[in-house]
Symmetry: C2
Subunit: 225 residues, 2 copies
């Protein structure tokens, strides 16, 4: 039986393009290699139309007012640097739409600092959740009822999925596919995208590894011939 | 002195969104954390306007006819699955525009299967280059003068940069930033995007690691709590 999953990414001016495109490519690849799965992927925004990412590249979106949450299987809020993120958190059109989420059967969550948008409207109250390593302390300070997990690449609490910084959205999307359609498909996607099926370690270990690379500059040989 | 780098991504219907957005996020992050660097990032296509990626999400582009190659510092052709890739290789508007590249001072190259578009118009003749692991044999068979390097995450031959599959475009973009602005900035970007500054190993080793993960299913503990 053909299974269709409808995925919505909530974006806004200044959003991190990779927060959306990483997971989107995971889902799209799942749909392209597995006969029994189709993913319908859309970007939604407060007003609809063209929305500019922090990289300067713009994507086309539908207005939240024209998209019913009840038709979505998964809704993910993407992250952004501080200023555009604050504007998104203050946008009533966005928050009003998102507050309907717990009344639907949709799984929802965030990539990177998108967790702040969910936390600001109480959707992470009492939940385990994570965000970009640079934002974990602030998330915990602003929303003390959120049980922030700074070391995870992503966290699942019931049907709420939150990922750590930027590319960890890819790790989380792979885990979503694995849950829905099994390990074999998730591993095939990882191989096609040339990413780890499971990145070993956690966000802080990963940062420590990067620190080690920075310190021991040149210790890792460059693959440029 | 403020340095500006203008980066153009050549895209077409059905392109792999992550091939563009991965490198774009690296360059955009460089611009956001280093005072002395500004990156101007644009997507260009045969006709301009809205272009749909393989994930179903659309990005806004300028028409190649309206963008002078001489104003670009770097031009990267993105990849796609076979069918949309073939259409891009046959598009005269794209190939005519790209053939002007060697007459400019722009660095150019490709991400993933974008190498086929460059090879089809002879721009990789006699060059060392790479592409997605699943396409290396075909690239070598179709264009025997291209010296295909199937094991590299990316290859640099003079000013021609080609990356392997999908996410290796991120590794390549980090190397470009490192070359232009140093290791410290490249490492800061890697840490912010939660990726390796230098991924150890090469494309085939990486695939072997994924095979090992697939075989020893569950040997790597999941980070989902």
């Amino acid at each position: 039986m053909l299974k269709t999953r409808r995925i919505l990414f909530l974006v806004y001016d200044g959003f991190q393009l990779l927060d959306m495109s990483g997971p989107a490519s995971v889902f799209a690849t799942a749909g392209s290699i597995a006969n029994e799965v189709t993913y319908k992927i859309e970007a939604v925004s407060a007003k609809g139309g063209e929305v500019r990412s922090s990289a300067g590249l713009s994507v086309m979106t539908k207005a939240v007012g024209k998209v019913r949450l009840s038709e979505a299987d998964t809704v993910l809020v993407v992250g952004a640097p501080e200023r555009p993120l604050s504007r998104a958190m203050a946008d009533k059109r966005v928050s009003t739409w998102l507050t309907g989420l717990p009344d639907t059967s949709a799984h929802f969550g965030s990539v990177c600092t998108g967790a702040f948008v969910l936390a600001a409207i109480g959707l992470l109250d009492g939940r385990r959740a994570t965000t970009h390593w640079a934002g974990c302390k602030q998330l915990a300070a602003l929303y003390p009822t959120v049980r922030v997990q700074p070391d995870a690449l992503y966290v699942v609490d019931d049907d709420i999925w939150t990922s750590a910084g930027v590319t960890t959205g890819i790790d989380m999307a792979l885990a979503m596919v694995k849950r829905d359609f099994g390990t074999t498909l998730a591993n095939q996607i990882a191989k096609l995208l040339v990413v780890y099926a499971h990145r070993p370690g956690n966000q802080s270990q990963f940062s420590a590894l990067l620190d080690a690379q920075t310190t021991a500059n040149g210790a890792f040989s460059d693959v440029v011939a």
